[in-house]
Symmetry: C2
Subunit: 282 residues, 2 copies
Protein backbone atom coordinates (compact mmCIF):
# COMPACT_ATOMS: atom_id res chain seq x y z
CA UNK A 1 0.00 0.00 0.00
CA UNK A 2 1.56 3.28 -1.07
CA UNK A 3 -0.46 5.62 1.13
CA UNK A 4 -2.21 4.79 4.40
CA UNK A 5 -4.84 7.48 4.04
CA UNK A 6 -5.75 9.53 0.99
CA UNK A 7 -8.26 12.33 1.56
CA UNK A 8 -10.24 13.63 -1.40
CA UNK A 9 -11.74 17.09 -0.97
CA UNK A 10 -14.67 17.58 -3.33
CA UNK A 11 -16.30 14.29 -4.26
CA UNK A 12 -17.77 14.95 -7.70
CA UNK A 13 -16.92 13.36 -11.04
CA UNK A 14 -13.16 13.85 -10.62
CA UNK A 15 -12.86 13.42 -6.84
CA UNK A 16 -15.14 10.38 -6.93
CA UNK A 17 -13.10 8.84 -9.73
CA UNK A 18 -9.86 9.51 -7.82
CA UNK A 19 -11.34 7.66 -4.84
CA UNK A 20 -12.62 4.76 -6.93
CA UNK A 21 -9.35 4.40 -8.81
CA UNK A 22 -7.26 4.62 -5.60
CA UNK A 23 -9.41 1.94 -3.97
CA UNK A 24 -9.63 -0.34 -7.00
CA UNK A 25 -5.88 -0.18 -7.59
CA UNK A 26 -5.04 -0.52 -3.88
CA UNK A 27 -3.12 2.75 -3.91
CA UNK A 28 -4.60 3.80 -0.56
CA UNK A 29 -5.35 1.90 2.64
CA UNK A 30 -8.31 4.15 3.17
CA UNK A 31 -9.95 6.94 1.18
CA UNK A 32 -11.71 9.69 3.11
CA UNK A 33 -14.03 12.09 1.28
CA UNK A 34 -14.64 15.68 2.38
CA UNK A 35 -17.64 17.53 0.99
CA UNK A 36 -20.33 20.03 1.88
CA UNK A 37 -23.43 17.98 1.14
CA UNK A 38 -24.33 15.00 3.38
CA UNK A 39 -26.42 13.32 0.69
CA UNK A 40 -23.65 13.49 -1.94
CA UNK A 41 -21.15 12.07 0.54
CA UNK A 42 -23.51 9.22 1.52
CA UNK A 43 -23.97 8.44 -2.16
CA UNK A 44 -20.18 8.48 -2.69
CA UNK A 45 -19.76 5.89 0.09
CA UNK A 46 -22.59 3.80 -1.40
CA UNK A 47 -20.96 3.89 -4.84
CA UNK A 48 -17.62 2.81 -3.42
CA UNK A 49 -15.85 6.08 -4.25
CA UNK A 50 -14.71 6.61 -0.63
CA UNK A 51 -14.48 4.55 2.54
CA UNK A 52 -15.60 7.29 4.91
CA UNK A 53 -16.96 10.81 4.67
CA UNK A 54 -17.04 14.04 6.61
CA UNK A 55 -18.20 17.59 6.07
CA UNK A 56 -15.46 18.81 8.43
CA UNK A 57 -12.30 19.65 6.49
CA UNK A 58 -10.03 19.56 9.57
CA UNK A 59 -11.40 16.18 10.58
CA UNK A 60 -10.98 14.83 7.06
CA UNK A 61 -7.33 15.82 6.63
CA UNK A 62 -5.88 15.37 10.13
CA UNK A 63 -4.72 11.79 9.50
CA UNK A 64 -4.13 12.07 5.73
CA UNK A 65 -0.83 11.22 4.07
CA UNK A 66 -2.03 12.64 0.77
CA UNK A 67 -4.76 15.22 0.21
CA UNK A 68 -6.20 15.51 -3.31
CA UNK A 69 -8.15 18.74 -3.77
CA UNK A 70 -10.84 18.27 -6.43
CA UNK A 71 -12.98 21.35 -5.87
CA UNK A 72 -13.91 23.80 -8.67
CA UNK A 73 -10.83 25.76 -9.77
CA UNK A 74 -11.84 28.97 -8.01
CA UNK A 75 -11.80 27.21 -4.62
CA UNK A 76 -8.66 25.07 -4.87
CA UNK A 77 -6.10 27.49 -3.41
CA UNK A 78 -8.24 28.48 -0.41
CA UNK A 79 -9.06 24.81 0.26
CA UNK A 80 -5.40 23.81 0.15
CA UNK A 81 -4.47 26.59 2.57
CA UNK A 82 -7.34 25.85 4.96
CA UNK A 83 -6.53 22.14 4.99
CA UNK A 84 -2.77 22.69 5.25
CA UNK A 85 -3.32 24.51 8.54
CA UNK A 86 -5.05 21.44 10.02
CA UNK A 87 -2.94 18.51 8.85
CA UNK A 88 0.14 16.71 10.18
CA UNK A 89 3.62 17.87 9.17
CA UNK A 90 4.78 15.88 6.15
CA UNK A 91 1.38 15.73 4.55
CA UNK A 92 1.53 16.05 0.76
CA UNK A 93 -1.11 17.91 -1.28
CA UNK A 94 -2.00 17.72 -4.91
CA UNK A 95 -5.00 18.95 -6.89
CA UNK A 96 -6.93 18.18 -10.06
CA UNK A 97 -7.66 21.69 -11.32
CA UNK A 98 -7.99 22.49 -15.03
CA UNK A 99 -6.06 25.73 -14.48
CA UNK A 100 -2.76 25.97 -12.69
CA UNK A 101 -1.62 29.61 -12.68
CA UNK A 102 -4.35 30.78 -10.29
CA UNK A 103 -3.74 27.81 -7.97
CA UNK A 104 0.01 28.35 -7.83
CA UNK A 105 -0.49 32.09 -7.28
CA UNK A 106 -2.95 31.41 -4.48
CA UNK A 107 -0.91 28.79 -2.64
CA UNK A 108 2.67 29.93 -3.35
CA UNK A 109 4.63 31.05 -0.29
CA UNK A 110 1.70 30.49 2.08
CA UNK A 111 2.08 26.85 3.12
CA UNK A 112 3.16 25.91 6.67
CA UNK A 113 6.65 24.41 6.88
CA UNK A 114 6.74 20.67 6.21
CA UNK A 115 3.60 20.62 4.11
CA UNK A 116 4.10 20.08 0.38
CA UNK A 117 1.89 20.95 -2.56
CA UNK A 118 2.43 19.51 -6.05
CA UNK A 119 0.06 21.08 -8.64
CA UNK A 120 -1.49 18.58 -11.01
CA UNK A 121 -4.10 18.39 -13.75
CA UNK A 122 -5.40 14.99 -14.84
CA UNK A 123 -6.70 15.67 -18.35
CA UNK A 124 -9.75 13.48 -18.11
CA UNK A 125 -13.36 14.17 -17.54
CA UNK A 126 -16.77 14.02 -19.02
CA UNK A 127 -19.57 16.39 -19.88
CA UNK A 128 -21.43 14.68 -17.02
CA UNK A 129 -20.83 16.10 -13.58
CA UNK A 130 -21.23 14.45 -10.17
CA UNK A 131 -20.10 11.35 -8.32
CA UNK A 132 -22.89 9.36 -10.03
CA UNK A 133 -20.75 9.40 -13.18
CA UNK A 134 -17.41 8.69 -11.49
CA UNK A 135 -15.51 5.61 -12.70
CA UNK A 136 -12.40 3.79 -11.53
CA UNK A 137 -10.88 3.97 -15.01
CA UNK A 138 -11.41 7.67 -15.74
CA UNK A 139 -7.65 8.34 -15.73
CA UNK A 140 -6.67 5.20 -17.56
CA UNK A 141 -4.41 6.09 -20.50
CA UNK A 142 -4.95 9.83 -19.95
CA UNK A 143 -2.27 12.45 -19.36
CA UNK A 144 -1.75 14.11 -15.98
CA UNK A 145 0.24 17.33 -16.14
CA UNK A 146 2.36 18.11 -13.08
CA UNK A 147 3.75 21.65 -12.80
CA UNK A 148 6.27 23.48 -10.68
CA UNK A 149 5.41 25.77 -7.74
CA UNK A 150 6.95 29.20 -7.33
CA UNK A 151 9.82 28.56 -4.96
CA UNK A 152 10.04 24.95 -6.03
CA UNK A 153 8.58 21.63 -5.03
CA UNK A 154 10.48 19.18 -2.85
CA UNK A 155 11.75 16.50 -5.27
CA UNK A 156 10.59 13.58 -3.14
CA UNK A 157 7.09 15.08 -2.80
CA UNK A 158 6.92 15.53 -6.55
CA UNK A 159 8.09 11.96 -7.14
CA UNK A 160 5.46 10.62 -4.76
CA UNK A 161 2.65 12.67 -6.33
CA UNK A 162 3.71 11.65 -9.83
CA UNK A 163 3.67 8.07 -8.61
CA UNK A 164 0.14 8.57 -7.30
CA UNK A 165 -1.24 9.83 -10.63
CA UNK A 166 0.62 7.05 -12.44
CA UNK A 167 -0.82 4.46 -10.08
CA UNK A 168 -4.30 5.73 -11.03
CA UNK A 169 -3.53 4.78 -14.63
CA UNK A 170 -2.41 8.07 -16.17
CA UNK A 171 0.78 9.09 -17.92
CA UNK A 172 2.52 11.99 -16.17
CA UNK A 173 3.82 14.92 -18.21
CA UNK A 174 5.93 17.47 -16.34
CA UNK A 175 5.56 21.08 -17.48
CA UNK A 176 7.70 23.40 -15.46
CA UNK A 177 5.57 26.50 -15.92
CA UNK A 178 1.94 26.73 -14.76
CA UNK A 179 1.59 29.52 -17.35
CA UNK A 180 2.65 27.19 -20.18
CA UNK A 181 0.06 24.69 -18.96
CA UNK A 182 -2.64 27.34 -18.92
CA UNK A 183 -1.81 28.69 -22.39
CA UNK A 184 -1.80 25.17 -23.86
CA UNK A 185 -5.06 24.21 -22.17
CA UNK A 186 -6.68 27.49 -23.23
CA UNK A 187 -6.29 26.28 -26.82
CA UNK A 188 -6.79 22.52 -26.40
CA UNK A 189 -9.61 22.53 -23.85
CA UNK A 190 -11.10 25.88 -22.86
CA UNK A 191 -11.50 27.36 -26.35
CA UNK A 192 -13.02 24.12 -27.74
CA UNK A 193 -15.57 24.25 -24.94
CA UNK A 194 -16.62 27.83 -25.80
CA UNK A 195 -16.73 26.92 -29.50
CA UNK A 196 -18.86 23.82 -28.89
CA UNK A 197 -21.24 25.88 -26.76
CA UNK A 198 -21.58 28.56 -29.46
CA UNK A 199 -22.28 25.85 -32.06
CA UNK A 200 -24.88 24.13 -29.88
CA UNK A 201 -26.57 27.44 -29.18
CA UNK A 202 -27.14 28.66 -32.74
CA UNK A 203 -29.06 25.57 -33.91
CA UNK A 204 -32.84 26.08 -33.80
CA UNK A 205 -34.50 23.14 -31.96
CA UNK A 206 -36.39 21.94 -35.05
CA UNK A 207 -33.09 21.50 -36.93
CA UNK A 208 -31.74 19.05 -34.36
CA UNK A 209 -33.51 16.27 -36.31
CA UNK A 210 -30.89 16.62 -39.03
CA UNK A 211 -27.93 16.86 -36.64
CA UNK A 212 -25.74 13.85 -37.40
CA UNK A 213 -22.92 12.11 -35.55
CA UNK A 214 -20.44 14.84 -36.56
CA UNK A 215 -22.49 17.52 -34.83
CA UNK A 216 -22.89 15.32 -31.75
CA UNK A 217 -19.13 14.81 -31.48
CA UNK A 218 -18.34 18.47 -32.15
CA UNK A 219 -20.73 19.75 -29.46
CA UNK A 220 -20.66 16.99 -26.80
CA UNK A 221 -18.52 19.00 -24.36
CA UNK A 222 -21.09 21.83 -24.45
CA UNK A 223 -23.18 19.74 -22.05
CA UNK A 224 -20.61 20.36 -19.30
CA UNK A 225 -21.55 22.08 -16.05
CA UNK A 226 -21.91 25.87 -16.64
CA UNK A 227 -20.73 26.84 -13.15
CA UNK A 228 -17.56 24.73 -13.29
CA UNK A 229 -16.73 26.02 -16.76
CA UNK A 230 -17.38 29.67 -15.98
CA UNK A 231 -14.89 29.32 -13.11
CA UNK A 232 -12.31 27.76 -15.46
CA UNK A 233 -12.72 30.55 -18.05
CA UNK A 234 -12.39 33.27 -15.42
CA UNK A 235 -9.34 31.58 -13.87
CA UNK A 236 -7.66 31.48 -17.29
CA UNK A 237 -9.12 34.66 -18.74
CA UNK A 238 -6.23 36.19 -20.70
CA UNK A 239 -4.99 32.96 -22.36
CA UNK A 240 -8.58 32.07 -23.33
CA UNK A 241 -9.19 35.52 -24.85
CA UNK A 242 -5.98 35.10 -26.89
CA UNK A 243 -7.05 31.64 -28.00
CA UNK A 244 -10.43 33.00 -29.15
CA UNK A 245 -8.64 35.65 -31.19
CA UNK A 246 -6.32 33.12 -32.85
CA UNK A 247 -9.32 30.95 -33.65
CA UNK A 248 -11.29 33.89 -35.08
CA UNK A 249 -8.39 34.76 -37.38
CA UNK A 250 -8.21 31.17 -38.61
CA UNK A 251 -11.96 31.01 -39.25
CA UNK A 252 -11.79 34.37 -41.04
CA UNK A 253 -9.37 32.79 -43.54
CA UNK A 254 -12.00 30.13 -44.25
CA UNK A 255 -14.72 32.77 -44.65
CA UNK A 256 -12.67 34.76 -47.13
CA UNK A 257 -11.76 31.70 -49.21
CA UNK A 258 -15.38 30.55 -49.36
CA UNK A 259 -16.70 34.05 -50.01
CA UNK A 260 -14.29 34.29 -52.95
CA UNK A 261 -15.28 30.82 -54.18
CA UNK A 262 -11.61 29.81 -54.03
CA UNK A 263 -11.78 26.00 -54.32
CA UNK A 264 -8.01 25.39 -54.42
CA UNK A 265 -7.54 27.68 -51.42
CA UNK A 266 -10.25 25.84 -49.47
CA UNK A 267 -8.69 22.45 -50.23
CA UNK A 268 -5.30 23.73 -49.02
CA UNK A 269 -6.83 25.26 -45.87
CA UNK A 270 -8.71 22.03 -45.06
CA UNK A 271 -5.68 19.86 -45.84
CA UNK A 272 -3.53 21.81 -43.38
CA UNK A 273 -6.15 21.31 -40.64
CA UNK A 274 -6.45 17.64 -41.50
CA UNK A 275 -2.69 17.19 -41.08
CA UNK A 276 -2.98 18.71 -37.60
CA UNK A 277 -5.91 16.48 -36.64
CA UNK A 278 -4.41 13.33 -38.17
CA UNK A 279 -1.31 13.81 -35.98
CA UNK A 280 -3.55 13.34 -32.95
CA UNK A 281 -5.19 10.02 -33.90
CA UNK A 282 -8.78 9.03 -33.21
CA UNK B 1 -36.42 -8.81 -53.06
CA UNK B 2 -37.42 -5.18 -53.48
CA UNK B 3 -35.16 -4.28 -56.41
CA UNK B 4 -33.67 -6.63 -58.98
CA UNK B 5 -30.67 -4.43 -59.70
CA UNK B 6 -29.38 -1.46 -57.75
CA UNK B 7 -26.52 0.45 -59.36
CA UNK B 8 -24.28 2.55 -57.15
CA UNK B 9 -22.31 5.27 -58.94
CA UNK B 10 -19.27 6.26 -56.90
CA UNK B 11 -18.07 3.44 -54.66
CA UNK B 12 -16.40 5.23 -51.75
CA UNK B 13 -17.37 5.31 -48.08
CA UNK B 14 -21.03 6.12 -48.78
CA UNK B 15 -21.52 4.22 -52.04
CA UNK B 16 -19.68 1.20 -50.64
CA UNK B 17 -21.84 1.27 -47.52
CA UNK B 18 -25.02 1.55 -49.62
CA UNK B 19 -23.93 -1.56 -51.51
CA UNK B 20 -23.00 -3.50 -48.38
CA UNK B 21 -26.24 -2.58 -46.62
CA UNK B 22 -28.36 -3.39 -49.68
CA UNK B 23 -26.69 -6.79 -50.02
CA UNK B 24 -26.70 -7.62 -46.30
CA UNK B 25 -30.36 -6.68 -45.93
CA UNK B 26 -31.37 -8.39 -49.18
CA UNK B 27 -32.79 -5.16 -50.57
CA UNK B 28 -31.30 -5.82 -54.00
CA UNK B 29 -30.93 -8.95 -56.12
CA UNK B 30 -27.70 -7.57 -57.44
CA UNK B 31 -25.61 -4.48 -56.73
CA UNK B 32 -23.54 -3.06 -59.58
CA UNK B 33 -20.85 -0.49 -58.85
CA UNK B 34 -19.75 2.20 -61.30
CA UNK B 35 -16.49 4.02 -60.73
CA UNK B 36 -13.48 5.48 -62.49
CA UNK B 37 -10.69 3.50 -60.89
CA UNK B 38 -10.31 -0.23 -61.66
CA UNK B 39 -8.39 -0.93 -58.47
CA UNK B 40 -11.01 0.70 -56.22
CA UNK B 41 -13.77 -1.23 -57.96
CA UNK B 42 -11.90 -4.53 -57.60
CA UNK B 43 -11.41 -3.80 -53.92
CA UNK B 44 -15.13 -3.00 -53.55
CA UNK B 45 -16.02 -6.40 -55.03
CA UNK B 46 -13.47 -8.08 -52.74
CA UNK B 47 -14.95 -6.35 -49.69
CA UNK B 48 -18.47 -7.41 -50.63
CA UNK B 49 -19.71 -3.88 -51.27
CA UNK B 50 -20.87 -4.73 -54.80
CA UNK B 51 -21.51 -7.86 -56.85
CA UNK B 52 -20.10 -6.54 -60.12
CA UNK B 53 -18.24 -3.46 -61.30
CA UNK B 54 -17.76 -1.38 -64.42
CA UNK B 55 -16.10 1.89 -65.36
CA UNK B 56 -18.71 2.39 -68.10
CA UNK B 57 -21.65 4.39 -66.78
CA UNK B 58 -24.02 3.37 -69.59
CA UNK B 59 -23.18 -0.27 -69.08
CA UNK B 60 -23.68 0.03 -65.32
CA UNK B 61 -27.12 1.62 -65.43
CA UNK B 62 -28.74 0.00 -68.49
CA UNK B 63 -30.39 -2.80 -66.46
CA UNK B 64 -30.79 -0.91 -63.18
CA UNK B 65 -34.13 -0.50 -61.40
CA UNK B 66 -32.62 1.96 -58.96
CA UNK B 67 -29.52 4.10 -59.43
CA UNK B 68 -27.93 5.61 -56.31
CA UNK B 69 -25.53 8.43 -57.17
CA UNK B 70 -22.83 8.71 -54.49
CA UNK B 71 -20.27 10.95 -56.22
CA UNK B 72 -18.92 14.15 -54.66
CA UNK B 73 -21.66 16.82 -54.55
CA UNK B 74 -20.26 18.83 -57.47
CA UNK B 75 -20.65 15.85 -59.81
CA UNK B 76 -24.06 14.49 -58.78
CA UNK B 77 -26.31 16.44 -61.19
CA UNK B 78 -24.15 15.77 -64.26
CA UNK B 79 -23.89 12.09 -63.33
CA UNK B 80 -27.66 11.75 -62.92
CA UNK B 81 -28.26 13.38 -66.30
CA UNK B 82 -25.62 11.32 -68.10
CA UNK B 83 -26.96 8.08 -66.59
CA UNK B 84 -30.61 9.01 -67.17
CA UNK B 85 -29.92 9.21 -70.91
CA UNK B 86 -28.69 5.60 -70.94
CA UNK B 87 -31.16 3.76 -68.70
CA UNK B 88 -34.51 2.06 -69.26
CA UNK B 89 -37.78 3.99 -68.92
CA UNK B 90 -39.08 3.62 -65.38
CA UNK B 91 -35.66 3.66 -63.76
CA UNK B 92 -35.64 5.54 -60.46
CA UNK B 93 -32.69 7.65 -59.31
CA UNK B 94 -31.71 8.88 -55.88
CA UNK B 95 -28.49 10.35 -54.51
CA UNK B 96 -26.59 10.69 -51.26
CA UNK B 97 -25.32 14.26 -51.54
CA UNK B 98 -24.73 16.47 -48.50
CA UNK B 99 -26.19 19.42 -50.39
CA UNK B 100 -29.51 19.38 -52.21
CA UNK B 101 -30.11 22.81 -53.78
CA UNK B 102 -27.31 22.48 -56.34
CA UNK B 103 -28.42 18.95 -57.24
CA UNK B 104 -32.07 19.92 -57.70
CA UNK B 105 -31.05 22.98 -59.74
CA UNK B 106 -28.81 20.85 -61.93
CA UNK B 107 -31.28 18.05 -62.57
CA UNK B 108 -34.65 19.87 -62.49
CA UNK B 109 -36.52 19.90 -65.80
CA UNK B 110 -33.79 17.99 -67.65
CA UNK B 111 -34.72 14.34 -67.09
CA UNK B 112 -36.05 12.19 -69.96
CA UNK B 113 -39.74 11.26 -69.63
CA UNK B 114 -40.35 8.19 -67.49
CA UNK B 115 -37.15 8.55 -65.44
CA UNK B 116 -37.59 9.70 -61.84
CA UNK B 117 -35.17 11.37 -59.46
CA UNK B 118 -35.81 11.60 -55.73
CA UNK B 119 -33.14 13.72 -53.96
CA UNK B 120 -31.87 12.23 -50.71
CA UNK B 121 -29.21 12.81 -48.07
CA UNK B 122 -28.39 10.03 -45.63
CA UNK B 123 -26.88 11.90 -42.67
CA UNK B 124 -24.20 9.38 -41.89
CA UNK B 125 -20.55 9.25 -42.58
CA UNK B 126 -17.15 9.24 -41.08
CA UNK B 127 -14.02 11.32 -41.19
CA UNK B 128 -12.51 8.33 -43.03
CA UNK B 129 -13.01 8.27 -46.79
CA UNK B 130 -12.96 5.32 -49.19
CA UNK B 131 -14.59 1.93 -49.62
CA UNK B 132 -12.08 0.44 -47.16
CA UNK B 133 -14.08 2.09 -44.37
CA UNK B 134 -17.54 1.22 -45.71
CA UNK B 135 -19.82 -0.76 -43.39
CA UNK B 136 -23.20 -2.44 -43.80
CA UNK B 137 -24.56 -0.61 -40.74
CA UNK B 138 -23.47 2.94 -41.60
CA UNK B 139 -27.10 4.09 -42.00
CA UNK B 140 -28.48 2.16 -39.08
CA UNK B 141 -30.47 4.49 -36.84
CA UNK B 142 -29.40 7.55 -38.87
CA UNK B 143 -31.71 10.05 -40.56
CA UNK B 144 -32.08 10.23 -44.34
CA UNK B 145 -33.58 13.49 -45.58
CA UNK B 146 -35.67 13.22 -48.75
CA UNK B 147 -36.56 16.49 -50.49
CA UNK B 148 -38.86 17.62 -53.27
CA UNK B 149 -37.79 18.35 -56.85
CA UNK B 150 -38.82 21.48 -58.69
CA UNK B 151 -41.86 20.38 -60.64
CA UNK B 152 -42.56 17.58 -58.19
CA UNK B 153 -41.62 13.97 -57.67
CA UNK B 154 -43.95 11.14 -58.69
CA UNK B 155 -45.49 9.90 -55.42
CA UNK B 156 -44.82 6.23 -56.13
CA UNK B 157 -41.16 6.94 -56.98
CA UNK B 158 -40.79 8.86 -53.74
CA UNK B 159 -42.44 6.06 -51.77
CA UNK B 160 -40.11 3.50 -53.29
CA UNK B 161 -37.00 5.60 -52.64
CA UNK B 162 -38.07 6.29 -49.06
CA UNK B 163 -38.58 2.54 -48.69
CA UNK B 164 -35.06 1.95 -49.99
CA UNK B 165 -33.40 4.25 -47.46
CA UNK B 166 -35.57 2.76 -44.69
CA UNK B 167 -34.60 -0.74 -45.75
CA UNK B 168 -30.95 0.30 -45.31
CA UNK B 169 -31.74 1.03 -41.66
CA UNK B 170 -32.30 4.78 -41.65
CA UNK B 171 -35.25 6.88 -40.57
CA UNK B 172 -36.61 9.02 -43.41
CA UNK B 173 -37.40 12.68 -42.81
CA UNK B 174 -39.19 14.51 -45.62
CA UNK B 175 -38.28 18.19 -46.07
CA UNK B 176 -40.11 19.75 -48.94
CA UNK B 177 -37.54 22.41 -49.73
CA UNK B 178 -33.98 21.62 -50.79
CA UNK B 179 -33.13 25.13 -49.57
CA UNK B 180 -34.40 24.37 -46.06
CA UNK B 181 -32.25 21.25 -46.07
CA UNK B 182 -29.19 23.22 -47.12
CA UNK B 183 -29.70 25.98 -44.55
CA UNK B 184 -30.17 23.43 -41.76
CA UNK B 185 -27.14 21.38 -42.80
CA UNK B 186 -25.02 24.53 -43.15
CA UNK B 187 -25.46 24.99 -39.39
CA UNK B 188 -25.52 21.37 -38.19
CA UNK B 189 -22.83 19.90 -40.45
CA UNK B 190 -20.89 22.29 -42.68
CA UNK B 191 -20.16 25.01 -40.12
CA UNK B 192 -19.09 22.45 -37.47
CA UNK B 193 -16.63 21.04 -39.99
CA UNK B 194 -15.05 24.46 -40.65
CA UNK B 195 -14.94 25.16 -36.91
CA UNK B 196 -13.31 21.81 -36.11
CA UNK B 197 -10.74 22.44 -38.83
CA UNK B 198 -9.92 25.91 -37.47
CA UNK B 199 -9.54 24.45 -33.95
CA UNK B 200 -7.31 21.63 -35.15
CA UNK B 201 -5.16 24.06 -37.10
CA UNK B 202 -4.30 26.54 -34.35
CA UNK B 203 -2.83 23.99 -31.94
CA UNK B 204 0.97 23.85 -32.13
CA UNK B 205 2.14 20.21 -32.50
CA UNK B 206 3.92 20.13 -29.13
CA UNK B 207 0.67 21.01 -27.34
CA UNK B 208 -1.11 17.95 -28.71
CA UNK B 209 0.30 16.01 -25.73
CA UNK B 210 -2.16 17.82 -23.49
CA UNK B 211 -5.13 17.47 -25.85
CA UNK B 212 -7.71 15.40 -24.00
CA UNK B 213 -10.82 13.49 -25.06
CA UNK B 214 -12.84 16.72 -25.35
CA UNK B 215 -10.45 18.10 -27.97
CA UNK B 216 -10.49 14.80 -29.84
CA UNK B 217 -14.28 14.78 -30.00
CA UNK B 218 -14.51 18.45 -30.94
CA UNK B 219 -12.05 18.13 -33.83
CA UNK B 220 -12.60 14.56 -35.12
CA UNK B 221 -14.51 15.66 -38.22
CA UNK B 222 -11.58 17.87 -39.25
CA UNK B 223 -9.87 14.68 -40.50
CA UNK B 224 -12.41 14.48 -43.33
CA UNK B 225 -11.34 14.52 -46.98
CA UNK B 226 -10.39 18.12 -48.01
CA UNK B 227 -11.57 17.73 -51.61
CA UNK B 228 -15.00 16.36 -50.71
CA UNK B 229 -15.51 19.06 -48.12
CA UNK B 230 -14.36 21.93 -50.32
CA UNK B 231 -16.97 20.78 -52.86
CA UNK B 232 -19.67 20.75 -50.16
CA UNK B 233 -18.77 24.25 -48.96
CA UNK B 234 -18.80 25.66 -52.48
CA UNK B 235 -22.11 23.94 -53.28
CA UNK B 236 -23.66 25.51 -50.18
CA UNK B 237 -21.70 28.75 -50.14
CA UNK B 238 -24.27 31.36 -49.08
CA UNK B 239 -25.92 29.33 -46.27
CA UNK B 240 -22.47 28.41 -44.90
CA UNK B 241 -21.31 32.05 -44.94
CA UNK B 242 -24.49 32.99 -43.02
CA UNK B 243 -23.89 30.19 -40.53
CA UNK B 244 -20.31 31.39 -39.96
CA UNK B 245 -21.63 34.87 -39.26
CA UNK B 246 -24.24 33.63 -36.77
CA UNK B 247 -21.55 31.58 -35.04
CA UNK B 248 -19.13 34.52 -34.91
CA UNK B 249 -21.80 36.67 -33.27
CA UNK B 250 -22.47 34.00 -30.66
CA UNK B 251 -18.76 33.58 -29.90
CA UNK B 252 -18.39 37.37 -29.68
CA UNK B 253 -20.93 37.34 -26.82
CA UNK B 254 -18.69 34.86 -25.00
CA UNK B 255 -15.61 36.99 -25.64
CA UNK B 256 -17.28 40.11 -24.27
CA UNK B 257 -18.55 38.36 -21.15
CA UNK B 258 -15.14 36.87 -20.41
CA UNK B 259 -13.31 40.09 -21.22
CA UNK B 260 -15.57 41.88 -18.74
CA UNK B 261 -15.06 39.14 -16.13
CA UNK B 262 -18.85 38.70 -15.97
CA UNK B 263 -19.22 35.39 -14.12
CA UNK B 264 -23.02 35.40 -13.91
CA UNK B 265 -23.25 36.28 -17.58
CA UNK B 266 -20.89 33.44 -18.51
CA UNK B 267 -22.90 30.94 -16.47
CA UNK B 268 -26.13 32.07 -18.21
CA UNK B 269 -24.48 31.91 -21.66
CA UNK B 270 -23.12 28.41 -20.99
CA UNK B 271 -26.41 27.22 -19.48
CA UNK B 272 -28.32 28.25 -22.60
CA UNK B 273 -25.90 26.30 -24.79
CA UNK B 274 -26.10 23.31 -22.46
CA UNK B 275 -29.90 23.28 -22.80
CA UNK B 276 -29.50 23.16 -26.58
CA UNK B 277 -26.97 20.35 -26.42
CA UNK B 278 -28.88 18.36 -23.77
CA UNK B 279 -31.94 18.35 -26.06
CA UNK B 280 -29.89 16.33 -28.54
CA UNK B 281 -28.74 13.51 -26.25
CA UNK B 282 -25.36 11.78 -26.35
Amino acid sequence: MRWDQVTVVGVGLIGGSVGMAARARRVAGRVVGVGRDHRTLARAVELGAIDAATTDLADGVKDADLVVVCTPVDRIAETVLAAAARCRPGTIFTDAGSTKGNVVEGVGGKLPAGVHFVPAHPIAGSEKAGVEHATADLFDGRVTVVTEMYGGVAPDARARVEGFWRALGSRVVYMMSPGDHDRALAVTSHLPHAVAAALADIVPPDWLTVAGPGFRDATRIAAGDPGLWAAIFLANRVPVLSAVNAFRDKLAEFYQLLDAGDGAGLVAWLAEAKRGRDALGR
